[in-house]
Every structure is written in C-alpha cells, then in structure tokens.
C-alpha cells in the first residue's frame, strides 16, 4: 500500500544547523495490519506520520500510496485522500468545544445524518462512552474519554489507513488496553499506524519500526 523511497524531511532549511526530522527513510507498508512506530522524542515519528498522511511535504524522496505518487497529487487530491482513505488520531484530541461528543464524531461523516448518528453512537459505545454522555460537550468528559471519542471520530468513515499519534497517552492502563484492542480488530482489514514512545502498548502489533534521529534503527516483523 505505502511505498516510501529515500524520504527526507529537513526543518530550518535556511539556517546553518539544519534539523533532519527524517533522514533518507525507505520502507514498504502493507494494506492491513497494526504497525507501531516507536522512538524517543524528536526521533521523527510524528514527522513520518505527517508526511505519509499528506499533511507535510517532504524535502526529498517519494511516497507512493496505492500506485499514486504524492508529488503528482494536487492539493484537492490530497484533501480527497485524507477524507476518503485516512483517519487521524492526534496527540491531543482536538474535539471541538461547542459540539456535542456525538457531533464531533460525525462531523466529517459522509453518511446521511441519521445513519451517521447511529454509526457514531455505535462507535462511541465500542469506546465505552455511555449514551448519556454522547450529547455532552467535551469539557464535561475526562481526558481519557475525550481521547476515546477522538478515536471514534477517526473510524467514522471506515478509512483504509488510521494514523494514531500517541492514542493512549492520556488513558489509564485498562482503557489503553481496550483502545489498542479496538485498533487491533480494525487492523485485520485495514492498516493502522500507531506512533508511541511506549512499547508496552504494541504487544499485539504485527510490526514495530524503531526510529532514531530520523533513521530506521530496526524493523521487526512479528507473527
């Protein structure tokens, strides 16, 4: 599904000391599976995710997704890709404060309103959000609940790829396990990329890629 060739991302190009967030990375990612990307802070995990998800343009190299070269895609085509194929779980939940939790989940849904609401409720329930909480504003929920809502939002359109940046950062152990279980189930038919600095949540991962200073240090395939 993903073919990454000699990918490089440099920050502060115009300064003397350039920062290589990603340094000549090449790899291939499959259509399905739970893939963990680990590494310390500043190792380039998030930068890799942003490049793969079209949110950042690499300095050099090429990304090919299902035969489409990112360098040849227009802005509109990239937006379409993000909308149709990708789902995002960001480091912070970024739930919109004036919308109810349910409305936050369905805001980008392509389904008719009633069907979107039904699906949204199902997803939230699978994330252990009670029905009584679904019409509340995010500020009435705990940090962990908000993160689980953000995951439900990412799944609403059944995207082919989920990019999850530290999805369990604000969750307790039990909820973190539950969320990773949900993502693992989803990864049976889709690709799920989980960025984390905590390897303990990747016990069920099919592959773990370790990044260090923008370079792949190890690429462990499991099972």
């Amino acid at each position: 599904m993903f073919e990454i060739n000699n990918l490089t991302l440099i920050y502060d190009m115009d300064k003397e000391e350039k920062v290589y967030a990603i340094n000549n990375v090449s790899l291939t990612l499959p259509d399905t599976g739970l893939i963990g990307i680990i590494g310390p802070s500043g190792s380039g995990k998030s930068s890799l995710m942003y490049c793969l998800s079209t949110l950042k343009k690499p300095t050099d190299g090429e990304i090919i997704y299902n035969g489409k070269r990112y360098s040849s895609l227009s802005k509109k085509e990239m937006e379409s890709l993000r909308r149709e194929q990708f789902g995002f779980v960001f480091q912070r939940h970024f739930l919109i404060g004036y919308m109810s939790v349910l409305d936050n989940v369905i805001v980008s849904s392509k389904l008719p309103k009633d069907m979107a609401k039904q699906k949204g409720r199902e997803l939230l329930s699978s994330m252990r959000i009670k029905t009584t909480e679904m019409n509340k504003r995010p500020r009435h929920l705990s940090g962990g609940q908000r993160q689980r809502c953000a995951i439900a939002r990412a799944l609403i359109n059944e995207p082919a790829v989920i990019f999850a940046d530290e999805p369990t950062a604000s969750l307790d152990h039990e909820n973190a396990f539950h969320v990773m279980n949900q993502l693992k189930n989803y990864s049976k038919d889709h690709l799920v990329l989980v960025i984390t600095h905590d390897p303990s949540i990747l016990q069920e991962a099919d592959r773990i890629i370790e990044l260090w200073d923008g370079i792949i240090r190890s690429d462990e395939r499991r099972g």
Partner: protein, 369 residues
C-alpha cells in the same frame, strides 16, 4: 442539524455571536439618520409639488419702475389660454425633524382670485363659504400651528407673518400632504408676483414653450417654474447629502474596524478547529464557505434586529414627537436603505476577506495538530 453547518455554530455559540449581531444592528442608526435627512428635503419638495403646474414671476432690481412686470401682466392677462393670478406674499413657518423652524412664502389672493385658484387646485370644496379674510392651511400645517378648521385668528403669532390681511382671519383647512398655507384678503394690494398656468383644456407642453418665450422676452423678470424651484431646493440641500455621506463613510470605517476586531476574537480561538477540518480532509473551499456562511448569518440576524430597532424608533418618534407637530417620518426611503447597504458591505467585505486570509494562513501547516 449538521454539525458542520453555519447554523449549528450560531446556535451553539449564541452568546459570543450576539455581540456581532448587536453591532450590526446598530446600522439602524445609519438608517434612521438617513430617514431624518431625506425627510427634511422631501418636506420642502412637497410644498413646491403642490403648485407645480404654476409659474411665478416677479420683478427684479433690473426692472426699473416695474416696467417689464407691468407689460407682462398686461400680455398674460389678455391671453385666453392662461389662468393668471396677481398675488403678494405673507410668511408662515413649520417645524423640521431637526427641530428648526423653516420659513416659507404663502401667496395672498384676493377673494375672487382664490375662488378661481381653488377651482384649479381643488384645495377646499368649491361651495365653501369663503370669508373676506382667511388663511387656508393644509391639515399638516394646521396641526403644527395648533389651529382647527373654523377657528378665528385674533392676533398674529411668530409662526404666521401676516403683512397682508385683516384680522380676524378665519382658518380653513384642507387635506394637503405638505406644510402649505394660502391667504385670502379683501385688502387692496398691488401684485408683487404673478402666478399663471394653462387653462383647463390647454396643453402643458404648449404652456411651457410659451413660458420660455416670455422668459426670453422679459429678461429683467425672475421666472420660476417648478423645475427651477426644485433645483434651487436641491442645491440648498446638497450640503445635507455631503454631510450625510461623509458620516456614512466614517461610520463604515468605524463599523468595519470594530466588527473586525470582534471577528478576530471569535475566529482566532478556532484556529485548531479549522486546522482539524483540513487535517481530516474537509475541502479547503468548504471550510471557507462555512466561515462565510456564519458571517452572513450573523449579518442577516443583525440586519433583522436593526430593522426591528428602526421600526420601533420611527414609530416612537412619530407617536411621541412628530405627529403632534404635523410631521411624519417615513418607514422607508431608498437613500437610507442604500446607505445601510454600503455600510454593511464595508463590514462584510473585509470581515470575510480577512477571515479567509487568516484561516488560509493558519491551516497552511497543520502539523502542529
């Protein structure tokens, strides 16, 4: 309701949105101000409208001993196609919406002349018993002067300068739409003015051709047609328009700056929201359309509230201030309407334009998510 829709945002952020709605509703001030100024001009024009079929002519200092006026009077009086009235003038006053008292000329007729004049003008019923000395007032003017039909004026007031006419003067009112007055006197006078028009059955075009011929021939006299009076009045009121539109320009800038400041507060806090939309693949143009729709909704709500405030203001002003002096402010005038449109555009164009620019800048790099 679709959570991405503009209406959803308005409904769930009404306390924040209300500030903008309130500010835009203050365009009512522009509207009511426009009604004020146009009303002053229109009231004056209405007086001229009443005698628009008549041409007035009087002597000037160039007409030594009134030679030309005498010759003209002889010529037009013997012209069977013309209706001619020799008049003098008194003065009356009416109140404007700005509270000033405007003075205006009132023609004084002999009794017989006024009966003929009335046959043409149909101010009062033709079978009215006309006294020797009377003042014929429009109902508007009578209301301002606090006079009733049939009342006898025993002494002169500061709103009626009666140089010609004997007291007591009987008041006769007619349902006129302007502040107008005419006098009837049995006192002998030498006409200072001549009013003339075409006789019933005559043609207006032929009449005005005749007027131009007379104007050319009697070049030491001052002829005033309806158009001449209107032009003179409009020239006098030009300063009102200059002042009004200058105020519009200044208020537009003030409105644009203040509402834009509130927009900045309202939209800057949503930087992450718009970045999120872009991040999850919502079309950039759709994001702009959403923002523009929100602003247009707020604008629409503000205008509706402004209309309500204007209607209420005009109703209260008429009820408690203007009607008792015979005045009436209209609820609509194109000048006031277009002034509001201009001001509103001054708010909307930078409001939407700057928000698009800022959102475009904010969502350029969403990697901060």
């Amino acid at each position: 309701m679709n959570p991405f829709s503009a209406r959803y945002f308005i409904k769930n952020n009404f306390s924040r949105v209300f500030m903008i709605v309130l500010m835009i509703s203050m365009l009512a001030l522009i509207y009511v101000g426009g009604l004020y100024l146009t009303n002053i001009c229109e009231e004056a024009l209405a007086i001229a409208n009443e005698t628009q079929d008549f041409v007035s002519v009087r002597t000037t200092i160039d007409d030594t001993d009134g030679e030309q006026l005498g010759a003209l009077a002889e010529e037009i009086s013997s012209d069977q196609s013309l209706e001619v009235f020799g008049v003098v003038q008194n003065y009356y006053r009416y109140k404007t919406m700005l509270g000033f008292r405007n003075g205006w000329m009132a023609y004084v007729f002999s009794r017989e002349d006024f009966i003929r004049f009335n046959e043409r003008m149909k101010l009062i019923p033709t079978d009215t018993e006309l006294p020797d000395n009377a003042v014929i007032l429009s109902e508007k003017e009578a209301k301002y002067l606090r006079m009733d039909n049939g009342e006898l004026i025993q002494e002169i007031s500061e709103d009626l300068d009666v140089y010609y006419g004997r007291l007591p003067l009987q008041v006769i009112t007619y349902p006129g739409k302007s502040f107008s007055a005419y006098f009837v006197t049995d006192e002998f006078f030498t006409p200072q003015y001549y009013l003339f028009t075409w006789k019933a059955g005559g043609r207006k075009d032929d009449f005005f051709k005749r007027v131009e011929q007379l104007r050319a021939r009697y070049n030491k006299l001052e002829f005033k047609t309806y158009e001449d009076k209107i032009k003179e009045m409009k020239d006098n009121f030009e300063i009102n328009n200059v002042i009004y539109y200058s105020i519009i320009a200044i208020m537009s800038i003030v409105f644009a700056i203040t509402t834009n400041a509130v927009f900045v507060g309202l939209y800057d806090r949503r930087k992450q929201e718009f970045a999120l939309y872009k991040g999850i693949g919502i079309d950039t143009k759709r994001i702009y359309r959403k923002m523009a729709a929100e602003i247009l909704y707020m604008n629409g709500m503000g205008l509706i509230l402004g209309v309500g405030i204007s209607l209420l203001a005009v109703t209260l002003l008429n009820e408690y201030i203007y009607h008792k002096d015979g005045m009436s402010m209209w609820y609509y005038h194109p000048t006031a309407f277009f002034a509001v449109v201009l001001c509103d555009l001054a708010i909307l164009i930078p409001g939407i334009g700057l928000r698009i620019r800022n959102i475009s800048r904010d969502i350029k790099d969403v990697s901060f998510l």
